[in-house]
Amino acid sequence: MLNLLKQLCALSGVSSWEDEVRDFIRAKAEPYADSIRMDTIGNLIVFKKGKKPTGNKLLLSAHMDEVGLMVKRVEEDGTLRFDTVGGIDRRILIGKTVYVGQSHLPGIIGSKPIHLTSRDERRQAPKLDKLYLDIGARDQAEAERYVRPGDIITFGPEWQEFGNGLLKAKAIDDRVGCAVMLKLLEEELPLDCNFVFSCQEEVGTRGAFGYSFALRPEIAMILEGTTAADLPGVREDQKVCVPGDGPVISLVDGGTMYDRELFETLRDLADAHGIPWQVKRMVAGGTDARTIQRSRAGVRVTGLSDAVRYIHSPSSVAAISDLDSILKLARLFLQRVAEEA
């Protein structure tokens, strides 16, 4: 699983440019799938039969896309102006190495040197229009040979395991969900499952509208990465969730109140099998569940998330121990849904 996640995080897949991730997943899933198709918006829908022929009853979903940047303009001096795709805190951008376009051309996000800044400018994080991307081009003509407005920009893929069982990478949100689903696909399943590797989650759960309408699930489980805030100076009850404290069982977030009975099922399964679990202590963020839940005449939604520090940054941090716990609990959930089907 760790190796799989490492491979997945290294791929580039900014919202609506998910091709690299989709190709990788398709190749991995092919040997185990009964059918694979891509829909018009770019969701990869993998169906695998299980022991019980339950058809479209259960849907599992994880999004392939990640947050990133997009080139807006090539300046006369050869630097690039950019915009964000998905929620990115601009404070984290300065000094980062990023990669532009399909050729992964390296560049550095720069800003005005400190000796030229005013006192006011030093007090606050620079706005996006004060930042620029330096790809080392001499001028506009040279830069335009390599990049065009609309090219996407991704964070660097450096993977690092460090500290007490932690890992650092970009795009853990939500390659971790993709990895869990790929591991499940390898197994003999207790019931039929639709695995959706979705697109455009980071720009407003847009991929979910199509696949939830088309697949008509009764129950949907969303596998996600979610924001941890176990940081110095943060009050105990505002830490949201903590890497290493187990899967975050979805109960409520900014977009959804998840199905209470399914929440209790997961909570009780975790307790019965000695798997640590947590709920989010502060309500923030959203997942594809918000769209799936209200699709057609309604869908029961639930979810498991990985607690990720510094989410949506090139240095997202997660606990290795949580990965297996999520897989284990998801597997138990499938079993339970099959038993009750």
């Binding site: 209470r260 709920v279 839940q293």
Partner: protein, 334 residues
């Protein structure tokens, strides 16, 4: 059943957004005698169907209430919470709460924030009297929700109670269902979930029912308090509000005219209700599938979402009478 008896049962039933199991059971028992079929959908919506000929007419009242959801138990035994629906720290401080399992508590203010005018919801915590996390966890777990405690009473023709929003609407639907003699429609009574967190339950329910006309029965503001900012048009005691618009919907004028005409013919006191902000299930119903005729019967209510809300019993009476008459009157559309 008398209004107060009905409201007593409905306002005391447990049902904050997302945890509507208790109130669903209560309403199921109350509405069962007047309908042919009852079902619960994936989002927990209760859909009561009185089979009939003609167009599908949907009446909707949300059964969820605002509430608090425990997100964290501190080592000293204090509970931290998230709000379900629109609550202000000023409204809920020092209020008693009760969990579904009967555990009680009080919403407490940290000592150093007592005088703080900018008191935030996140500053508050719930005290259940536990001396440690372990003791608290025996009664309450993260994810459990709680609601205001309260005892409804009537005085001067008004009802004072927690959760008149929208148990008053639920009471009106149950009472209307009892009164309807000759329905002109295939009738649905929807008791929807998760309205307080963004009219989430009604959307899939309306998709499933596929109505021609949808009428939401919910509370509205009351423009009769000192210092009114004319945020809304209705006042307590002047009759059922016929919704013209709110923050979520502009009702089709033909439907508003029909509702007004039916009320006038039956001599039911009504007032035109216009609310500048805030939304109801009507907004979600209107944009379902290929579009639905959407209206609202609004019950003026003071102090909405606070631990004690106030409505006029005569307005509930008018609302129920209007709903029943509408179900017995044909609507031609445009």
């Amino acid at each position: 059943m008398e209004w107060m008896e009905l409201l007593n049962q409905l306002t005391r039933a447990f049902g904050p957004s997302g945890s509507e199991g208790g109130i669903r059971k209560t309403i199921t028992d109350l509405i069962a005698p007047y309908v042919d079929e009852i079902k619960t959908d994936a989002m927990g919506n209760l859909i009561a169907h009185r089979k009939g000929e003609g167009k599908r007419l949907l009446f909707s009242a949300h059964m969820d209430s605002v509430g608090l959801l425990v997100t964290h138990v501190e080592k000293e035994g204090w509970l931290r919470f998230h709000q379900l629906g629109g609550l202000t720290a000023q409204d809920i401080r020092r209020q008693g709460v009760v969990f579904e399992n009967g555990t009680r508590g009080v919403i407490a203010v940290p000592e150093d924030k007592e005088e703080d005018r900018d008191l935030k919801r996140a500053d508050l915590f719930i005290d259940v009297g536990a001396d440690s996390r372990e003791e608290a966890l025996k009664q309450v777990r993260p994810g459990d929700a709680c609601v205001y405690t309260g005892t409804p009473f009537a005085q001067n023709g008004k009802v004072f109670s927690n959760y008149l929003d929208d148990r008053a609407g639920c009471a009106v639907l149950i009472e209307a269902a009892r009164r309807i003699q000759n329905p002109q429609y295939d009738l649905y009574f929807l008791f929807s979930t998760q309205e307080e967190v963004g009219t989430r339950g009604v959307k899939p329910a309306a998709f499933g029912i596929d109505p021609d006309i949808g009428i939401a029965v919910d509370v509205t503001g009351s423009d009769d308090l000192p210092g009114s900012d004319r945020w809304c048009s209705s006042v307590l005691g002047k009759g059922a509000g016929i919704k013209v618009m709110d923050g979520s919907v502009v009702c089709q004028p033909e439907l508003v005219a029909w509702m007004s005409a039916v009320a006038e013919a039956a001599e039911i006191p009504v007032q035109q209700d216009i609310l500048r902000s805030g939304g109801t299930d009507a907004g979600a119903i209107q944009v379902t599938r290929g579009g639905v005729w959407a209206g609202g019967i609004d019950i003026p209510c003071r102090y909405t979402h606070a631990p004690v809300e106030v409505c006029a019993l005569s307005d509930l009476e008018a609302a129920a009478a209007l709903a029943a008459r509408l179900a017995e009157s044909g609507f031609d559309g445009r």
